[in-house]
Symmetry: none
Subunit: 91 residues, 5 copies
């Protein structure tokens, strides 16, 4: 007999969705950060005297790129720890 009540369904769904979300949500930021790093390193090889400028720019850019992953992490943590929709149920 396959009987799935509301709390079980919500738990199951949260587990699947949170892992899938954080996995998918960090792919795109990782790739663009990798491309940015690659370009910065190539630029340093071409203009070694500009290494300081290039590194500073890279770090600021990566901090901004990182925000993409952090938003996903934030939403997942909210869903796992403090999902306000769960108060709809009278447990």
């Amino acid at each position: 007999m396959w009987q799935l009540d509301a709390p079980t369904l919500i738990t199951v769904l949260t587990i699947i969705v949170s892992v899938a979300g954080i996995v998918l949500g960090s792919i795109a930021p990782s790739i663009v950060e990798g491309i940015a790093t690659k370009t910065a390193l190539e630029a340093m090889a071409r203009q070694p005297e500009a290494a300081g400028d290039i590194r500073t720019t890279l770090l600021i850019a990566m901090a901004l790129l990182e925000s993409g992953s952090i938003y996903v992490l934030l939403i997942v943590l909210i869903l796992v720890f403090a999902n306000p929709l769960l108060e709809l149920f009278v447990f």
Copy 2:
């Protein structure tokens, strides 16, 4: 008869999802870190005198790239060890 009660379902699901998540979640960071390392080594071969700058930049960038894997690891560990939704069940 195939009877799967709530705790079993959640345990089974967590096992599958956590391993699948950490496997998939570490592919993209690994690849971009590999590309960054490759580029850094090539840049060193072209400009040996900039090796120090290149290495410093590579390490900072890889620490940021690593964060992609670490977010996935964090979510997986939370789900395995301290899933707060499990308190919904009256065991």
Copy 3:
């Protein structure tokens, strides 16, 4: 009659998932580490005087790349040895 109770199901699942996970989880890191090694060796052939810098950079980068495999290994070991969800069952 095919009757699979909860402990059997979980054991069977853990065996399959842990081996599949560690196999799949070590493919991507292996490949990028191999590419990094290849590039380092080629860079040494081009700039033998930079061999020390290249080797140091390679080793630090590979230690970070290795972390991808280690996260997978960590999750697998947790699931095999200390799966806290198993306490949900009243054995």
Copy 4:
């Protein structure tokens, strides 16, 4: 009648999974180690005077590459010799 009780199922599964895992798990490390060796030998032919540096780097890198296979071997040995989940059964 095809009746497969829990211990038989687990034994059968462990045999299949452990051999399949160790076979598949050693393919990727073998290939990248082969590529690394090939590159090292070619690099030696191009820069014979850097042979010492190249060999040292190759060996350290291969020891790290080997870790991919060793993680798989570790998980397989744990499952075969000391699967803690088997204590769930009351034999």
Copy 5:
């Protein structure tokens, strides 16, 4: 009637799996060792004065490559000679 009791099933399975495993498990190491040998011989032809270095490197690398096959052999021997899971059965 086709009645397969547990010990027969396990014996049959072990025979099939161990042979299949050792055959498949030695393909990848064999191929990469062949490639490494080929490259070493070509490198010696190009730089005969580096033949000693090349040979030493090739032999150490092949010993490491061989480990892929040896892990498979180890698991197969354990399954054939000392499968600890067989103690689960009361023969």
